[in-house]
Amino acid sequence: MRTYILQRLLQMIIVMIVVMVASFVIVELPPGDFLTTLREQLTEQNVDPKVIDSTVAMYRERYGLGENWFIRFAKWAWSLMKGDMGYSMQHNRPASDLIGERLSLTLWISVATLVFMFIIAIPIGMLSAIKQYSAWDHAFTFLALLGVSVPSFITALVFLLLSVTMMGATSVAGLFSPEYVTAAWSWAKFVDLLKHVWVILFIVGLGDTASTIRIMRAKMLDTLGEPYIDTARMKGLSSAKIYFRHALRVAINPIISSIGLRFPQIISGSTIVAIVLTLPLIGPLLLDALRGEDVYLACSILVLLTLALIIGNFLADLTLAWLDPRIRLES
């Protein structure tokens, strides 16, 4: 087990390095850089060409933009490891300031969505399998297919429309009521967040919850058809013990191993919802940074998301190894 963990940690470091290089290269690939954008912006604002030239030259020097990309990467990577994420040239603020709160909120909401998804999907999927072809099963099959097929931004729009027209709400979008948006963190702000967040969880998690219900149902049906379930029945066990102690343990495996993959899905899936509902999440920020060729900001976000993803994957695999002796053996 120890070698397995060490092996995985080593793999994670390799993945991180590859991702850092790759994201940097990709962001640098398109012709032109931030300075081109800046020059255009300033020209549009009819600034004196001399001032433009001097401003551009200043930026170029400050960030070493004229230099070889490899040197820029090395500078950036080194400072990133020290926790300095560089400077957002678009927003004129340190990247860490911009990322900080949004990232923690994003992670918080993603984890909450995952938990929400499991709490809803696993019992429903199990019950659908146990009561296969019952009214319950048919109803949730219908709802799950609906959930899978409707894009989340449509759900978000419908939700906005309904809450404005039917409930006369004035502040439906956002994570906080207007009075708390800029306020410092407090108990009241947290309570306010809780009031808003379940809607977000529902909208962001709907599609994944629906597909998880389907996976859980299918896997549970497979498991219930296995001979070892007959063995358990023949011991005289109660249905509850058969379903939870024997069947669930096996059926839940693919769902746990999918956590690592769900995580980035939720983050990217929440981007559009975040735009529609104007949520202060990391997705819209990343989109902006990519469009504005804000190299340092974009790369930092990509690297942080990758880090979150591989840590999530690692935890999922550890959970799986802890649950399933067969995986322990292979490692």
Partner: protein
Amino acid sequence: MNSAANPDIVLNIHNLQVSFRSIAGTTRAVNGVSLDVKSGEIVGLVGESGCGKSVTIRSIVGLVPSPPAIFEAGEIWLRTRQGLTETLALRKNMRALRQIRGRDVSMIFQEPMRSLHPMMPIGRQITEGILEHEVIDPTEAYERTVEMLDLVGLPNPAGQMNRYAYELSGGMRQRALIALALVCHPQLLLADEPTTALDVTIQAQILDLIKDLRERMHMSVLLITHNMGVVANLADRVSVMYLGKIVETGAVEEVFKEPAHPYTQGLLASMPSLFSEPKTNLQSLRGIVPELAMAPQGCVFADRCPYVMPQCSETPPLVELSAAHSTACWLYTGADTHGPADDSASSVEAAPVPVLGNRNASPGQPQGQPPQPPASDGIARTASDAEETIQLQIEGVALHYPILRGLLRRQVGTVRAVDGVDLTIRQGETLGLVGESGCGKTSVGRLVTRLVDPSAGHIRFRVPGGLENITRIAQKEMKSVRRSMGMVFQDPLSSLNARMNVRNIVGEPLMLHKMARGRKVDDRVGELLELVGLRAGHQSRFPHAFSGGQRQRIAIARALATEPDFLVADEPVSALDVSVQAQILNLLLTLQQRLNLSMLFIAHDIAVVRHVSDRIAVMYLGKIVELGNARDVCSRPVHPYTEALLASIPLPLPGFEASREMPKGDLPDPANPPTGCRFHTRCPYSQPLCAAEEPILRAQDQAGGHLGACHFQDELQLQGVEELGKSLRA
């Protein structure tokens, strides 16, 4: 319930009728089954797949989900700790059923791997059962589990408690399952094909274990199997089931000695036995088990019965032939019959089996004289060893797989699947290759057809123009060689592409080798289909439209499409029902004779191999341990492993107890084979020399036709089976 009132009766099934409702309609899977199991008795329920055996015994414990099942009639009385209980009525009463399950009646299943929970330690799975039924201290439950594991013969039982199913071998898993089933001392054990998935030597151990436990634990067993040999070996009484009905019931001795129902006779005659004349046609039942919905009215066996008569359109009555033997057949009603069995039981004794042979060749099967065994005396063999008669020769062929571990995929070991095998197959000869799972027999088949590349050795194969060394030639050149080779695989369904019709499946080799185009392909495919006993007009059908036996015929037609000289048949009948197995074996024998094919026939069942082969090679852990004339190998084995294989086969001879010592333990890990003689860990005759030095394959007799790889083959007097059969019959 007069019979249930008998205190001796543990289980009484009376007139059970179970139907299944589906979109296609309602089919009656169990149609009026009545069955008794007495205290301490082992009752066998035999029949081919789909005859309703499993539904019958699963109904006893409420394991048949309803819907889709409908229990139309019948009663199932089970003696429980609460007294006699009618369990059929309990199927909606989970609480009552749960008290019976595991405590009064237990069940073991066919696939030991899948029947144990994959993620729960063995010990916990067993103690869970005890704790469910008894108010008992967990440490006491633990101790009882260890005792039980010891009783079923698991070595180091306390050490097994924390192991998982995948860490145990197949035989050990089945032992653990038996311990699980018996830990609460039920009076009745239901065993659903308990040894079908196991190797023969392991099967023999498990059968012995069940017999032994029956005595020790004073329980009864209801055993389901398709293998008549297992029934003869284990059961006291037997019921033969066909299409949801019991056609014959009786004491095992009587049923095997004087099978009354034509279906029972057919089942017994279909089995290739170790006493039959090799390379002769088996007396198979005609046709196949029909779909339940297509079952004939009246006697369900009427459409396959050689004695069918007008009365058979009515349901036959149950006829008592003796106190302990009854059958449902019009032949024995004393009414006006025409047929070999006139009106008394005495005509049944007149060996009805051979009579069956005249009428029962399957409809499409090529008729003709049974093939004659080729002359195989020593002198002829020496002469025929000449180069020009060799079809295939392999020398020192090996197949090694590296075991890779760790981050850098270092090679930490080698699986020696095939480890230096020499074989020669002459033109027109069938060489049988026999061994247990993991011995490398399938790998040999794949090596000679170059489906895998050998790690060492030479393969020479006769192509038009002489023997060619095909060991290292490119796959491109191999294509022309393959024209002279055909291959038939074990599973006829998965070896036929489900999206191709029969014309394309059988015609593909013709087109690939540019032997025919367009209309000519259709004509040739038609010929081939008729050759294997199918209709030429079925070319446009897809594989799923055929039964298992017909699919295997299609696979044979495909293998023969390019008119090869050589056929590799890898377990061609082991996935088939007994009656169909006999038809396919007959077909292979006839075709081989007619087309002068050479054949490598690979199987795990030495009786089947003996039946079709001229010579037999016995394989153990990647090595040939014995090679010789088929009958010699079976009647005078020189290697203890061959003797063990022969002794392990359950013979259809009730009351016969194998006097020889059975091989101990499990097959060793092929990645880490024992030193010296690979069989020494299991050999009853093992000496210190065996562990130290590896024996070579050497000639046993002067003629040099019988080879063995045992240090003591000249001293040991091993027992074959043929003489044994003769002495028993006499």
